[in-house]
């Protein structure tokens, strides 16, 4: 019996203690008309050797193409120590740290994480994670709407990831929050300031400011933040945490800073893994701390005055406040945050900067090389971080499929979400790519055109 330690003698002794004839008696309160043990489709169990063989065969089916896709999930080198430590049983198999004295390892790690994220974003406080960046953005918008009190309208630019906008819509429509799309300037690839200006003076709860935006373009974050504040709206910064090793942190945008910073922590040590688990991070100004969703760790002392860490401000949360909680979130992505903390500690500021700068430079080089091919051009004149939009002289889907046949994931086809751009392909080359990799991409692209 897999994972069940009972011997026949144990079972008999236990039944005798209970006073039950057999195990089935223990289910006597379930109406017999409802009982069912029809699980025939399940098959018989596999032992460890058999299941290992099955899974290795399945894994072998999945080729590992050379990856140039970003679009919200980024391939970075993850130091071996990150997951060696994060999967230690003491981290891996612990529950949520409700019993603080028995959970100081997790709690201190999360406190260190909050410290690192608050510093990286330049914000006052961080929570201990949400599910992912997209659902995190929805939570940030809910926070802003709660704090704003009068408006339920939020400006959500078209330069925000279409995946994030879709999730925000799924979650927020049920609470009648109006999401207004702001178009982008077709020359710069950034939020169109004139389109934004139409909403000046109207009652707006928040403006979402992506940095970098979905195209990899850097937005004019200072003027956008100042504009939001002039409308008495909250500025929600949607950022890539790795980029913050190079870029001005949201806490300093327009001097006074954005009010909430949110995003996906995947670049900080989470493997791509077909989409998850990643984690969402959420940081904000001190005045908004009680509007935050999710768990928060605080430092305190024990009864001998010794420093310790504990879950705090729990009166915001569903297990205390029930229907009046700031969110229904309970489980978060704790283990991913443990990995991210170890990742940031290993790389330090210097390592993060080198990683971010190398990703910037590789993408710049890739775009430069690709644009030497006949008919290929780079879209958008604004500065970029580590993604670029290439305009191709042939149908993107066809080119993409041909490059896939050559073992290359060429990028993200923007056709479905931004048809107005034409044959546009969003490419990303992180620090993991060598010059030979870039040349292989260009050669495959040339072949496909």
């Amino acid at each position: 019996m897999p994972f069940i330690p009972h011997t026949e003698a144990d079972i008999q002794a236990m039944l005798a203690s209970i006073g039950a004839e057999n195990i089935d008696t223990l289910f006597e309160e379930i109406p017999s008309s409802l009982r069912s043990d029809n699980f025939s489709a399940l098959g018989s169990g596999l032992n460890e050797m058999q299941v290992s063989r099955l899974m290795r065969e399945r894994a072998a089916q999945d080729q590992q193409p050379l990856n140039f896709i970003g679009a919200g999930a980024y391939e970075h080198h993850i130091p071996a120590a990150v997951w060696e430590i994060a999967t230690r049983g003491e981290y891996y198999t612990a529950y949520t740290p409700y019993q603080a004295e028995a959970s100081q390892g997790t709690l201190q790690t999360l406190y260190e994480y909050q410290s690192m994220m608050a510093s990286l974003t330049g914000m006052d406080v961080s929570n201990a994670s949400l599910y992912d960046g997209a659902s995190g953005l929805a939570e940030a918008i809910l926070m802003a709407v709660r704090a704003h009190k009068t408006s339920r309208r939020v400006l959500l630019p078209a330069t925000v990831s279409p995946f994030y906008r879709s999730v925000a819509h799924s979650i927020l429509k049920l609470q009648h929050i109006e999401l207004i799309e702001i178009p982008f300037d077709s020359a710069t690839g950034a939020i169109d300031p004139q389109a934004l200006q139409q909403y000046a003076g109207s009652d707006i709860a928040a403006l979402v400011i992506p940095q970098p935006n979905f195209f990899g373009v850097l937005e004019e974050v200072d003027s956008l933040t100042a504009w939001a504040h002039a409308q008495h709206a909250y500025a929600i910064a949607l950022v890539n945490p790795l980029s913050l090793a190079l870029l001005k942190p949201p806490g300093l945008w327009a001097g006074s800073g954005a009010d909430i910073a949110v995003g996906d922590g995947q670049p900080l040590g989470a493997p791509l893994c077909s989409g998850g688990p990643y984690f969402g991070f959420l940081c904000c100004k001190q005045v908004l701390v009680r509007q935050m969703p999710g768990r928060i760790i605080g430092r305190t002392v024990d009864l001998e005055g010794k420093t310790g860490y504990t879950l705090t401000l729990q009166a915001r949360e569903q297990h205390i406040r029930r229907a009046k909680a700031t969110s229904n979130i309970c489980s978060n992505q704790g283990l991913m945050v443990t990995a991210a903390t170890i990742y940031m500690a290993l790389l330090g500021v210097d390592g993060l900067r080198r990683t971010a700068a190398a990703s910037y430079e590789n993408t710049r080089l890739l775009a430069e090389m690709a644009c030497q091919l006949p008919g290929v051009t780079c879209l958008f004149s604004s500065a970029h971080f580590h993604e670029r939009v290439l305009l191709l002289p042939a149908a993107t889907a066809k080119v993409w499929a041909q490059m896939a046949e050559q073992g290359i994931s060429a990028g993200y086809d923007l056709g479905a979400h931004y048809p107005q751009l034409g044959n546009a392909l969003l490419v990303c080359a992180t620090e993991t790519k060598t010059e030979a990799d870039l040349q292989r991409f260009v050669a495959a692209l040339r072949h496909a055109l």
Binding site: M1, F3, L26, E29, L34, F39, L42, G45, S52, M55, R58, A60, D62, Q64, N67, I69, H77, T87, E90, T93, E101, T109, S115, S119, D124, Y131, L218, L244, A245, L247, K248, P271, C273, G275, P277, G298, R299, T300, K306, G308, T310, T312, Q318, I320, R322, A325, N328, C330, S331, Q333, M336, A345, L346, G348, V349, D350, T355, E361, S409, E431
Partner: protein, 490 residues
């Protein structure tokens, strides 16, 4: 000591990051960072030692008996981790061609089929990333169903007072108001109260069965009739699925929509708070509303099985996406490996031995003179002990007992939940614990009771053997200290 206090200016890990420093001259200065973020400067050994030592300050399933009620802290087989972390699974980008993920998709498709089978539901989506997000998906589907029928007067969700806090919080996030109904002295829903609360405004009822009181809701068929006759739908909170898996299917009980906590019943690790996976299952009439994506299998002409994700084009009435990509794939792969190892026979045994362990522990504690909250009822996979008589005698509370258990080498059960039972401990041993461990736990509780009478101060001062003693939660909340820098600045 914090990692920041181990930092040494100028120290860095040359092996962990790119060798070259390159300039980012294409980015305007106004957009660049001028200040230095506060990250530690430490060697690999500093970091490895620091976090290894921190990990050792945790209780975990791998180190301790962890009978947290409603949390299903069963053994997390190591092979599930090993196989989910195979490089091909780890390295695949979520937007890569589906042809490069057929092995992964085959696992997910089969997991969907397994979950359908064990719950008796017509369809499953693996998308939700945790139990609470599964609840959100479930209630959003109920709402979408009513709206699709033009039935828009339904504004209320009914929730029993013993429910998890996520239930009412979820109903509110889905735009509903919450009506709470009482539980009777036997731990059942008060049917009269339910009838009174149900009507044309009822969108649905959220129910955990067995309930958080550790007993099976025997009137489930009557409850189903009341809700369905009023036009509402029945939501199953799968937090306690471990108690019934292999014995009764939520679909057969009449539930229209359910979520399953794969990090409970399907043994994926809790990771210090997550990630989880909250797959949802639905009855026929809700199939069209499942959250995206769902994995579909196609047989091509030469009978080769291929797998693909369904999109909005396939499910135009879907409640949509709840994650940027496809949910917690790594967690789902672990659950799949576990399910395949158990197979048909193993799945039946989960609830049998979870229930045997709970009832044995209950019997032994009852014989030892402890007070069981519902002694006239058969325990499910968990049960409630009330410490109130001990508190009346000695002043020792459920919290004191919990803290003293730490000194005896046991993680305590869930304390003060459900709130209906005073001074309660909700105990869930799970099927993977041996009789010896359960016996040792009973012995520890007996010792603590003796201490409560002989030396109550000893128990009130516990724990003594943990890295810290009882923490000042009031100070933590009043003098918020949520990051290291804040302290240094003050």
């Amino acid at each position: 000591m914090l990692i920041f206090e181990r930092s040494h200016k100028g120290r860095r890990n040359a092996a962990q990051s790119p060798q070259q420093t390159v300039s980012v001259s294409g980015i305007p200065t106004a957009l660049l960072r001028q200040d230095q973020p506060l990250l530690p400067e430490a060697s690999e050994m500093d970091v490895v030692r620091h976090y290894t030592r921190l990990s050792q300050k945790n209780f975990s399933i791998d180190t301790h008996f962890y009978p947290l009620g409603s949390c299903t802290m069963k053994h997390n087989p190591r092979v599930c981790n090993t196989l989910a972390m195979l490089p091909q699974f780890q390295s695949r980008h979520p937007l890569a061609a589906e042809s490069t993920g057929q092995g992964m998709l085959a696992c997910l498709y089969e997991l969907q089929q397994i979950l359908k089978e064990v719950t008796g539901m017509a369809g499953v989506s693996l998308m939700p990333m945790a139990g609470a997000q599964g609840e959100f998906a479930g209630i959003a589907m109920i709402r979408a169903y009513h709206e699709a029928r033009g039935d828009t007067a339904r504004t209320e969700i009914i929730v029993p007072d013993a429910a998890h806090g996520t239930n009412p919080a979820t109903a509110v996030m889905c735009g509903y108001t919450v009506t709470e109904i009482k539980t009777d002295a036997q731990g059942n829903i008060d049917l009269q109260a339910l009838r009174a609360a149900t009507g044309p405004k009822t969108a649905g009822l959220m129910l955990t069965n067995p309930s958080t009181l550790g007993v099976f809701e025997k009137q489930i068929e009557a409850i189903r009739e009341i809700i369905h006759e009023a036009g509402g739908l029945l939501y199953y909170d799968g937090a306690n699925l471990n108690a019934i898996i292999g014995k009764v299917k939520p679909g057969d009980m009449g539930f229209d929509v359910i979520h399953m906590n794969l990090h409970k019943t399907f043994s994926t690790p809790h990771g210090g708070g997550g990630p989880g996976a909250g797959a949802v299952g639905v009855a026929e009439r809700l199939l069209a509303f499942l959250p995206l994506p769902v994995v579909a299998m196609q047989l091509s002409a030469n009978t080769v099985q291929t797998y693909r994700y369904l999109t909005e084009a396939d499910l135009p009435q879907s409640i949509g996406h709840l994650a940027a990509f496809t949910g917690n794939i790594g967690v789902l792969l672990r659950a799949y490996v576990y399910a395949r190892m158990l197979g048909f026979a193993g799945m039946l045994r989960v609830s049998e031995f979870a229930t045997l362990n709970a009832n044995y522990l209950l019997a032994e504690l009852q014989k030892a003179g402890f007070t069981i909250a519902f002694p006239q009822r058969r325990a499910s996979h968990e049960f409630i002990l009330s410490i109130k008589p001990l508190k009346d005698d000695t002043g020792i509370s459920a919290m004191d007992v919990a803290k003293r258990l730490l000194d005896k080498g046991f993680h305590p059960p869930t304390t003060y939940f459900p709130m209906l039972v005073p001074e309660c401990l909700l105990i869930e041993p799970t099927e993977t614990e041996s009789k010896e461990t359960l016996d040792a736990f009973v012995t520890a509780l007996k010792e603590i009771r003796e201490e409560a009478y002989a030396t109550p101060e000893l128990v009130k001062g516990a724990p003594y053997t943990t890295p810290v003693r009882r923490l000042d939660d009031v100070k933590a909340a009043r003098e918020l200290d949520l990051k290291w820098k804040l302290v240094k600045e003050q």
